[in-house]
Amino acid sequence: MTKRADRMSRGLIAFAFVSCAATLGCSELNAPIYFKGQTFFAAGKDDPLPVGGLTLRFRAPTDAEQMKLDADSTARGYDVPWVSRDKVHIEVSYKVTFRCPTPDERSRADDPPTFDCDASMLDGTHAFTLMVDGADQFTKYDTQVVSAALQQAADDPPRFLPLIPVIPRMLAPGESFSGVVREDDFAEGELDLDALGRWLDTDPASPTFAGVLINRSEVAPHTGLGMVPGFDPNNLNPLVVPAMTEVDLRLQTDVPMAIEFFVRVRDDDDRLWHNDSDPMFNPDPTLFQPPATM
């Protein structure tokens, strides 16, 4: 073998191995983790709305990480969250079906559906609305609680202001709709939740509640974000926004429907709790109450 061929051979072998290693390495860098939520059901015209969801478990910061968080918090003048939006990215995939619960679902051990439902009586086309709420490490938002607080009289129709609303869809009996609540929807909802929980502005000219829920944060005049530290209409990124640690879904519809869902998490810094030996992060978020009832 000539020297040139020898160099070429070594180069090709190295290239093959480096390519393989790089492919594997890249795939591990940002691999999402999926959590299957338990299917839940709407009987139709439910009050309160049926709710399902799950709480994500994170490991507690190490001593070194805690020291860095403390230093960042001191430098910024507010509590920098351990579970932050720039490190933890959430997405929900769901499928809503206009149907009755199956016998298997009725016999499941955990929270089986108990309402009467006759599949032969399902007819017409009906809408459903999916609402996404949740909690970060500081604040919990519950659409049902907020709705009750906003209700002026007992017979007033409920008004729902979820953190992340999903466009209503129509379904015929047996039909399904699959959709995704994307990471950017969660990013917006997480900023709104933090603004409601930690940076609540009661100025009637730019109220955080319900201004941030109705308006997109990046759109002028950035309603309700006036108290956010370092707020700059041209740059909404200086705040370290907490990510959700709990995701709650509510299904509003007039007929029996089932919703299956998965929560997908991209965990950039490996903060989800994997090992039994790691101490768990146990946040205690405060339930948000709208200003009128506080």
Partner: protein, 195 residues
Amino acid sequence: MAAALATSCLCGAAPARAQVTSEPSAVVFPDPEKFARGLYTEGEFGGLWFNGPAGSDVGVGFAVGARVGYDIFRFFALQAHLVGSTHQTQGDTAVAGQLLQMYQATVEGKLTLRLVQWSFFAEGGLGLARMSSNLLFALGIARYRTGFTAGGGGGVDYHFLSRHFSVGLRGGYYLLRDVSNSRDGMVTTYLRYTF
């Protein structure tokens, strides 16, 4: 005149005597003995699909792979194989449309029958298959992200007149034990360089 005759008899060439002992052998071109043998690498690309329980939830994907091997004999080689493929989930689930990658690493034996520039081969081996995420676990199909795989296949190879290069087409079929005994099939085309 007499002198010329005498010179002709004394200096003329001796009579030729030829003897044919066998048919001349046919020239084989190119001579496979001149093809390089020993350490080789291959790069491949093609398609990979799932059968069995994962078949309804995971679509056909694009596959890229590499092999490094050594021809121990003319007819037998040992090789290491790594292939990665990317797929999209499908079907009637809430997570239809999600991306998923699978990586398979196997150690294989390879038997080859060479016919001048063409060769036909069969290969088989075992190793590990790893999913890029726990998506199949969430769907209830897989137990672990990394699991056992075994299988084999075959193909055809065409050697260029170059001493080192050949190309080929191969197919393979592998069991994925920890993906509910699903199987995956792949068809790839490859370029091989033998050092």
